[in-house]
């Protein structure tokens, strides 16, 4: 831990998360992965939106940006395109990323912009005290789903892959070692990477749904997670009620900011003297 402690703003601790919350474990896994890769802390920007997850950057000793709800990836896109040499990491939650920020999420994935997104999925809006999110499983309770959630939930891995993310993985706060390994690989992928980290919310999700103590919730992660490699040889019956963890997708493709820089180089060679903008403009449309 001593090695990774230097990446924390120690004077900002203790954090505001509830006892038993999984978000500290996820943040720890990110920091250990950064420490392992020996990344330059002056060249890392961590961006977040709003919610419990989004308080994480405040505790980290990098340039950190706590933005508006759902918009972390849009702010991060501006940073990364401006300074492709920076390592840009987004820390987000299930509501922040897939509800209010869903559009930014699919478009960041589509562009394959080199941003590592760590989504802390606690299946609930914690900061506003327990409303259902797009990742609350059907039938589960929330303060805005008092009779059970009637909506279907997103499978973030499938969503990410379909939208164009080039690295997609999932782990849980229980599988902290695996989580660290997956984040490390995500940080190394030069493109849009998504790591979904299931994180227990004992205060709202757990209590509302009678899931027991934080330890009970982590035990549930342990008992219901199946590594995708193991799942490959398991029968559908055996996989019933389980969820997959591990590396779901790893398929590098050209990265957006690099492509833009290459295009700009070509343009600059062609127009070496700037004359001031003057051209015809198209007229119509809304």
């Amino acid at each position: 831990m001593s090695d990774s402690l230097k990446y924390f703003r120690e004077n900002r601790l203790p954090h505001i998360w509830c006892p038993g919350c999984g978000h500290g474990t996820v943040t720890g896994a990110l920091v250990r992965a950064i420490a392992k890769l020996k990344l330059d802390k002056n060249k890392i920007v961590v961006v977040s939106g709003i919610g419990c997850s989004s308080r994480a950057p405040g505790y980290l000793d990098f340039d950190t940006l706590h933005t508006t709800h759902g918009r972390a990836l849009a702010f991060a896109t501006g940073i990364k395109l401006s300074r492709p040499e920076l390592k840009v990491i987004v820390m987000t939650g299930d509501g922040d990323c897939t509800a209010i920020g869903g559009n930014h999420f699919i478009h960041a994935a589509r562009r394959n912009i080199d941003i590592t997104t760590i989504l802390m999925n606690n299946n609930i809006y914690g900061m506003t005290s327990g409303q259902y999110s797009p990742m609350t499983p059907k039938g589960m309770l929330g303060t805005t789903a008092p009779y059970g959630n009637t909506e279907r939930s997103f499978d973030l891995a499938k969503l990410s892959i379909a939208a164009g993310a080039t690295y997609v993985a999932r782990a849980t706060a229980y599988h902290a070692v695996l989580l660290e390994e997956l984040i490390e690989k995500a940080l190394l992928n030069p493109g849009f990477s998504v790591v979904e980290a299931l994180s227990q919310c004992p205060t709202y999700y757990g209590r509302k749904n009678k899931l027991g103590t934080p330890v009970d919730m982590m035990t549930w992660f342990k008992d219901h997670a199946v590594n995708i490699k193991a799942a490959a040889v398991m029968s559908p019956e055996k996989l019933e009620g389980k969820f997959l963890i591990g590396e779901m997708h790893n398929s590098p493709e050209p990265e957006f900011t690099a492509e833009y820089s290459a295009l700009a180089e070509g343009v600059r060679r062609k127009f070496d003297s700037f004359q001031g903008g003057l051209r015809e403009c198209a007229q119509n449309s809304d």
Binding site: R12, K41, N42, K43, V45, V47, P57, G58, D61, F62, D63, T64, L65, H66, T67, T68, R71, A74, F75, A76, T77, G78, I79, L81, S82, R83, E85, L86, N103, H104, H107, Y260, L263, A264, V267, R268, F271, F274, G276, G277, L278, R279, C281, A282, Q283, N284, S285, D286
Partner: protein, 377 residues
Amino acid sequence: MPSVKLMQGNEACTLGALTAGLDFFAGYPITPSTEIAELCAEELPKVGGKFIQMEDEIASMAAIIGASLTGRKAMTATSGPGFSLMQENIGYASLAEVPVVIINVQRVGPSTGMPTSPSQGEVMQARWGTHGDHPVVVLAPGNVKECFDLTVKAFNIAEDYRIPVVVLTDEVIGHMREKVVLPDFETVKVTRRKAPASPGGYKPYEADPDGGVPLMASFGQGYRYHVTGLFHDETGFPSNRGDVADVLIRRLMKKVENAEPLIRDYATESIEDCEILVVAFGSSAMSSLSAVRQARAKGIKVGLFRPKTIWPFPEEPLRELSSQVKRVIVPEMNLGQLVLEIERVIGCRAPVERLSKVNGELFKPEEILFVIMGGEK
């Protein structure tokens, strides 16, 4: 060398931005502002800048704030519906003190309204569109040349005071082409935010003793500081303390209050002996100018006061002028927005008459002339 060009308002805004050092644009297509995005897409890669078409205007505003935090001069351009979507992040830029420029080419609203017709319906939205008390500066060009000049000025104000600055034009000015004498770009005054000397002891939100504006470090330079939309103390970290919040919001508002005499900008015509005063901005001022000239030709003592900074409003000069006149006429392409500020400034020194137009057409000079001549509105 100064050069003479036939240029569109939207082109002039873009050229002004480039002259001011624009090197990052994020935007989303919307009539009647789209030409600005198109030009930026074409020009920015030539000068080492970056252009991106985002998925919506919320994202565009977010992206330019992110870009500005890395030291870039960043801008977006939009129109009514897009401007509405940008409001939350404009508030973020106000509170987090991130310099950005937004060009809003007004069309008729609310909602989708009349996309290809001009309006001045966003006077109040430009000032108060985002929630909470917040500093913002709004500039209103009255012709194509001023689109160039005021966009340069917008960047300078944004950089000097670390605030979002809105350039408020409309469909007529945005799309009309006119003869413009452009200055030698090298001679245009361009400023840049003041940066700290070194990371040691850097407090990102500590008011600089010289001017009260905190020094701004760029991300990626070793300062490792925190930026948040929560109320925060000098260190940039969130604080729930009422006294901290009070100090912060008052300091933010004070920045613009103190700047007002320095950034104040307005034009006048025939005011020396005027007994009737027309107060108009933007494209309404073009019609007003024509009306004032026609009235003068008939021997009527009428003048024009045309604010170019509309927020903060140039109070002092208008208040002074209003003491000498018997009537004030305010033509606006809305149902009465800037007139509320004008009435506040003038008080009971002179009666203020509103002249409104919301049919998507520019005022005809004779409509204003009619009122100057004493006709019923």
